[in-house]
Every structure is written in structure tokens, then in C-alpha cells.
């Protein structure tokens, strides 16, 4: 049996997926599933918070999914996937024991090390909390290295709040400020209703010594970045996780270009000073 695609081979040919086995599958909410997976053979590669893998379903296709697990946990690779197309649909349907292919990790990282000594504002919307979760884990595991920490999260409605149990746990930590809001709700919801940007002005951080990390639908990120800038956070300290069509993840297929940047190599995490002028250019 020729298991040709070991990590060494991937190093030689970045187009070859490495087989991974699903060891756990958990439905988070509605159409979102979290999969834990381990390499069929060989070591799991190290990854940085904010990076992504290309996940391949045999015969179906490949899609870029951010890693949503703890970088300190070397035992498994964790992805949180929303079923939005043929490939993600197939991935979300995988159960324990199923195999998929993995290429990666690719992309740039959340600046969790650079943020030490600063206040940290994490701004997430919808599924955007998943690519930020590795950064949150890292910050909370080294809490004493950071100033004030705020996690601001927006979802469509209460049933769509992702990682709700973890948000509640984080909020219970006395030194984390967790604010959750929804676009609309019914009367059983006792929290905020409204969008994320207005939460930023109230979050309580020192704008001159803050690093902000933002992830969610692009419109939500755009306005959140504006709100952070209006609050006085310098553009180069506001980081967004951008998303574009990806086919290769290694800067060769051309699909993920956003202006001169390749989201796969120069992103996905990019600083707002590089993005500000471009986010409002129609169809860039």
C-alpha cells in the first residue's frame, strides 16, 4: 500500500493532501460542526492561531477552513465548519473514523505574541469566532501577559451563538469582559440586541495600547474596524481575517488576490492599515 503523501511528500509537493482521520464530530448549532482529526500517520504539524488548512473530501473537492483549536494541544487538529457548499457540506457530514485530506497549515497568524503587554479586544461575528478561538485560548493561557481583555461577539439570534458554553465560561472569568449581542431576538433573550460596532466604544480599553483582532462577515469587520479606529486604536494594531476564493492556498492559482495581496500568503490575517483604503473599493 503506497501511502505516498506523508508530510515529507507534502514538503516536496504542496499539492498533495495528507490523510487525516476524524476522531470526533460535534454539531455546534444548526449548520455548524466541529471536527477533531489526527494524521493517519506521522506527526501533526504545528500551527499558529489564525492559520487555515485546505480540507479535501475524497472525490468531492477542497475548501479552506480556519483552524479553531488550541495551538498548545498537539494531539489533534480541530476545525469548525459551516455547511455552505458542496465540499463543506460533505465535510460537515463526516463522522468519527472517516478520512479526509489536509494541506497546510497556511497563512498568517493573529499577533498574539506582539499583543503581550497590551489590552486585547477580540471582535467576532457569527462563524468568525472560530478562527479567533485559537487566539483566545492562547491569550487566556497567558492571561498575566496582557492588560484588559474584551471579547465582543455578535450573532444573528440567540440560537446562533457559537461556542455558547465557552463564552459563558470566559465571561465567568472575572478578568475578561465578554459582551454578546444579536441582530434580533425574542423575549426570552435577556442580552443585548443590536450590532457589534457600538459595543466597541463601551468595551473599556486603552486605545493607544490595544491590539484588536476582528473576524466575521466582511461587512461586520469593515464597520468594526471603523469603530475601533474611531475609538483611537491605530490602524496597524487592528487585524482582520480576510476571506477570498482559494484553490491552491500557496499563491499559485491567483484566485485569492485582494489588490496586490494573496489572502493565502499575505493573509488571511492582515492589518487594517493595509486594508483600509481597499475594503470600500467595489469588487476589488
Amino acid at each position: 500500500m503506497n501511502l505516498a503523501a506523508s508530510r515529507t511528500d507534502q514538503a516536496a509537493d504542496h499539492f498533495l493532501p495528507t490523510p487525516y482521520r476524524v476522531v470526533a464530530a460535534k454539531r455546534e448549532i444548526r449548520d455548524i460542526v466541529t471536527l477533531d482529526m489526527v494524521p493517519v500517520s506521522g506527526e501533526m504539524p504545528e500551527f499558529l492561531p489564525g492559520q487555515f488548512n485546505m480540507l479535501y473530501v475524497f472525490g468531492v473537492g477542497e475548501v479552506a477552513i480556519s483552524i479553531s483549536g488550541d495551538p498548545a494541544d498537539k494531539s489533534r487538529m480541530i476545525h469548525t465548519v459551516r455547511d455552505v457548499g458542496a465540499v463543506s457540506d460533505a465535510i460537515a457530514a463526516l463522522g468519527p473514523g472517516a478520512t479526509l485530506g489536509l494541506r497546510g497549515p497556511y497563512g498568517t497568524a493573529w499577533p498574539v505574541a506582539d499583543a503581550e503587554g497590551n489590552d486585547v479586544v477580540i471582535v467576532a461575528g457569527g462563524l468568525g469566532l472560530a478562527p479567533l478561538r485559537p487566539a483566545i485560548y492562547r491569550v487566556l493561557a497567558n492571561r498575566e501577559r496582557y492588560g484588559r481583555v474584551a471579547i465582543l461577539y455578535g450573532a444573528r439570534e440567540p440560537a446562533d451563538i457559537l461556542f455558547r458554553h465557552e463564552l459563558e465560561t470566559w465571561r465567568k472569568q472575572l478578568d475578561i469582559n465578554v459582551e454578546v449581542t444579536v441582530d434580533h431576538a425574542d423575549q426570552t433573550w435577556h442580552g443585548s440586541v443590536g450590532v457589534v460596532p457600538p459595543l466597541i466604544a463601551r468595551a473599556g480599553f486603552d486605545p493607544e495600547n490595544t491590539v484588536a483582532m476582528v473576524c466575521g462577515p466582511e461587512v461586520m469587520m469593515r464597520f468594526s474596524a471603523v469603530a475601533l479606529g474611531d475609538a483611537g486604536v491605530p490602524f496597524e494594531r487592528i487585524h482582520l481575517s480576510m476571506e477570498r476564493n482559494m484553490k491552491c492556498a500557496i499563491g499559485l492559482c491567483g484566485h485569492c488576490q485582494f489588490g496586490p495581496d494573496f489572502i493565502c500568503k499575505d493573509g488571511a490575517v492582515m492589518s487594517y492599515d493595509r486594508l483600509a483604503g481597499k475594503l470600500t473599493i467595489r469588487e476589488l
Partner: protein
């Protein structure tokens, strides 16, 4: 009255308000306490008062027939509820429900409108404070309308 004036001027909405205007506005003001679940007003009611929230949280709701009420916004302490008092026909366009025990200062709309007519400088100071709130709420409403977290067709 003096205590009420101090409470009013301490509210973030009136930051930077001139002392002479503070007295004028206080003359139209009174205290309110709303228990959890009580409605401040209902859609269609005469908008004869607007509220500065001191403590608590208020849900802005709209009830589509045959459905449960939908909360389309929440207002917390330090913020204000109500702009319909500014615009004829002075009727509320949504319901406002106290989500928890809420203390508010109500400002009589007719009283304040009369004083603003008499003193345009007062009127302008009020407008300068209302407009940013309305603009932010309009922008938030637009973002809510986009349903950014929703599934897209196709």
C-alpha cells in the same frame, strides 16, 4: 428639583450641556421606575415623553401579527429611548419594554418642544445630541437589515 437637575445633567446624554439649559430641561423632567416586564410605551401611543435610562435595560420590540414580538434593539443605561417626540405626528413606532428593573428620567415632550420654540439655542443643543444617536441607530439598523450572518442563496 435640584437633585433631579443634578441627576439629569450627570446623564451622559447631557454631557457639556449649559447650566441655564439644564434648568429649563429639568422643568420638564420627572422620575420613573419600571419593573421588569413593564412597557414604557406601546406602538401607536402618543409620544409625549422621551426617556434617559439611568439603570437597567430596555428592549425595543415590534410585534408582527400572528408572531411573537421581535426585539430589534436594546438600550442600556447611559442611553436614551425615543425620538418620535421630535417629529409629528408624535406617535411611538415600536414598543419599549423594561427587561429588568429600570430607572429612567422622563422628559415631557410638549413641555420641551415649547421651550425649544421659545429658545432656538436650546433647540439646537437638543438636536446636536439627538442626531448622533439617530444616525448610529440608523446605521445599526442598516447592518441588521443586511443579515450578515444569515445564509445566502446560491
Amino acid at each position: 428639583m435640584e437633585t433631579l437637575e443634578r441627576i439629569l445633567m450627570d446623564h451622559p446624554f447631557f454631557a457639556g450641556f449649559g447650566k441655564e439649559f439644564g434648568e429649563l430641561v429639568t422643568g420638564c423632567a420627572r422620575n420613573h421606575v419600571f419593573e421588569a416586564g413593564k412597557y414604557l410605551f406601546h406602538e401607536g401611543d402618543a409620544a409625549d415623553e422621551f426617556y434617559l435610562i439611568r439603570h437597567g435595560k430596555v428592549a425595543l420590540e415590534i410585534l408582527p401579527p400572528g408572531q411573537r414580538p421581535v426585539v430589534i434593539g436594546t438600550v442600556r443605561e447611559g442611553e436614551i429611548v425615543g425620538a418620535s417626540w421630535l417629529v409629528p405626528p408624535y406617535r411611538w413606532m415600536f414598543d419599549a419594554r423594561a427587561m429588568e428593573l429600570t430607572r429612567a428620567i422622563g422628559i415631557d415632550a410638549a413641555c420641551l418642544r415649547t421651550k425649544c420654540e421659545a429658545d432656538p439655542k436650546l433647540g439646537y443643543e437638543m438636536m446636536k445630541r439627538f442626531l448622533p444617536v439617530l444616525v448610529q441607530r440608523l446605521q445599526s439598523a442598516r447592518l441588521q437589515l443586511l443579515d450578515v450572518y444569515g445564509r445566502r442563496a446560491g
